[in-house]
């Protein structure tokens, strides 16, 4: 028996491969792909010395008290940032959510106001969350000086935008019939929110806020690298001074903190469920 093993898709596969290789080449050029750089004696020596310093981790009393301070600062930055973000997001979501839009019920007195007010608020929300928090932090550090306040404001801006968008969406995806009935019967928007929407949506809103707090904790470590205080700033200093022991302690603390935040937020959300 003469079985011819032939791939029916051979041609299309070959074409796809050729195109991929053609694209890969300029990409590798642009991104400076030099794996050999990893094994250059200079780089190897720097990295080797740095990694060798990882054991033992730095546990001197001075450094530990510095580490504790930075950890507390990171926690406080995340908490304060989320609190400010909530203060930005809640009114924006209240103004924007379609679930509370009186003008959607029919022609009413507030229609023109809504048409004038909503689009700019939507754009504001978009601009707030379009720039990553690290970029805001970098800019704010220039404006406010090194320290935690730049980080807190950066978190408040980006997370305010994100929370506002998601709050509005959660309110819309909840059961809106009660709120609609209230609005149609002539109640105010605030009352419709409190009695018609929140009872159904509060749990999800709170749960999402807690999740964002967890993200904010991670982000505040990252923001430290541009000078916004906390563990990140400490880590930045240790890497720049090639102090492996300190970097190791900071990394371990950071991993523990992330685990703690995971557990705390899971516990919170279980409490809410």
């Amino acid at each position: 028996m003469n079985v011819v093993m032939r791939d029916p898709q051979a041609r299309s596969r070959a074409t796809a491969l050729a195109i991929a290789l053609l694209l890969l080449w300029p990409m590798l050029q642009l991104s400076g792909f030099h794996p050999s750089a990893l094994f250059e004696p200079g780089n190897l020596k720097v990295m080797g010395g740095f990694l060798a310093g990882f054991v033992p981790p730095a546990v001197s009393g001075d450094f530990l008290s510095l580490l504790l301070k930075a950890t507390l600062e990171t926690l406080a930055m995340a908490t304060a940032g989320i609190a400010l973000a909530f203060a930005i997001a809640a009114p924006l979501a209240f103004a924007l959510t379609r679930a509370l839009s009186v003008s959607r019920l029919g022609p009413g007195p507030g229609r023109w106001r809504a048409r004038l007010l909503r689009p700019p608020l939507r754009v504001l929300l978009l601009v707030l969350r379009a720039v990553p928090e690290v970029v805001w932090a970098l800019l704010l550090v220039r404006a406010l000086g090194l320290g935690a306040s730049a980080g807190v404001l950066a978190l408040a801006i980006t997370y305010g935008g994100m929370l506002g968008k998601v709050y509005a969406e959660i309110l819309e995806s909840a059961d809106t019939r009660a709120a609609r009935a209230l609005l149609e019967a002539g109640s105010g928007r605030l009352a419709a929110l409190g009695y018609g929407l929140l009872p159904g949506a509060a749990q999800e809103l709170a749960s999402y806020t807690v999740y964002r707090w967890e993200c904010a904790l991670r982000a505040s470590v990252v923001m430290g690298f541009v000078g916004a205080g906390g563990l990140g700033q400490l880590m930045d200093q240790s890497t720049k001074m090639l102090n492996g022991g300190e970097a190791c302690s900071i990394l371990v603390t950071f991993l523990l903190l992330v685990l703690l935040a995971d557990a705390l937020s899971a516990g919170f959300r279980k409490l809410l469920a």
Binding site: H34, L75, T79, A80, V134, A148
Partner: protein
């Protein structure tokens, strides 16, 4: 008599939920303590001189530097950011695929636990921290950024791939094995076709996130738009920095628009 009975039968309003009160009090306390610990002087921030300084700082960003040579430089930076994100995602997909095989439990329990632990460590260190370390290992430049993205994303993709592998039905693979096919053949023809679509969707999704991340990684010296922004802000060239910020905006919006179009075609893969 009847009246009073029916009165007693009325549902009683629930008392205040003690847990809720306690948790709310704790949250308020935590927020107040945070502001107190950070000692942010809100009044100083909002005072007239500080606001005037802020307005002046913002004013320096306008107008952005739109001269042709600088725009070309920024476009180069944007291309580099795209290339870094693509290379990082590609390397991550390869490493993730290699780690996903043991992590999905195909080689027994011990390799599974080891691979999972490794993936967890890779994943829990943020990209920017990896970048700071990779700048030491590979020198300043875009390659460090690509490596940093690859390390973090390998952790994420490895876990997602492993879960996809675990969830895929094993019937066809087992049938090929029973018919006498080798382990590799059975995997390649019995399992891979089932997991490819989902895995590609995951890779594209992470690539989208990595483009945004790659724009930022330059802050620690890993090339691309971020490095340009950091450089020009450091030497107080706000007009140039403003152009770079614009480019970041354009990049992020373009990626958003493109991915939401693409996603409509791939919708089930994101379920």
């Amino acid at each position: 008599m009847n009246d009073s009975v029916s009165f007693d039968d009325h549902a009683q309003a629930a008392g205040p939920c003690m847990t809720c009160v306690a948790v709310s009090a704790l949250i308020v306390l935590a927020v107040v303590a945070s502001f107190a610990y950070l000692a942010i002087d809100v009044r100083a921030l909002l005072s007239a001189p500080s606001l005037r300084l802020m307005a002046k700082f913002i004013g320096e960003f306008f107008p952005p530097d739109l001269s042709a040579p600088f725009v070309a430089k920024v476009a180069g930076g944007a291309l580099q950011t795209l290339a870094v994100s693509a290379l990082g995602t590609l390397l991550a997909a390869l490493a993730g695929a290699v780690l996903a095989l043991p992590a999905s439990g195909r080689f027994g329990l011990a390799p599974r636990l080891a691979a999972r632990a490794l993936l967890n460590v890779l994943r829990s260190v943020p990209e920017l921290v990896w970048a700071a370390l990779m700048v030491l290992a590979a020198g300043l430049g875009p390659f460090a950024g690509a490596l940093a993205l690859a390390l973090h994303t390998a952790g994420v993709l490895g876990r997602l791939f492993a879960e996809t592998l675990e969830n895929a039905p094993r019937d066809s693979e087992r049938a090929l094995r029973d018919a006498g096919g080798g382990a590799v053949t059975a995997f390649a023809y019995g399992c891979l076709p089932l997991v490819t679509a989902q895995s590609v969707a995951y890779v594209l999704y992470r690539w989208e996130m990595n483009i945004r991340m790659a724009a930022v990684l330059g802050f620690v010296g890993a090339g691309g738009l971020g490095q340009l922004l950091y450089f020009h802000l450091s030497i107080f060239q706000q007009a140039q920095a403003s152009t770079v910020l614009l480019a970041m905006f354009v990049l992020v919006f373009a990626v958003d628009a493109f991915s939401s179009r693409l996603r409509r075609g791939l919708a089930p893969a994101y379920a």
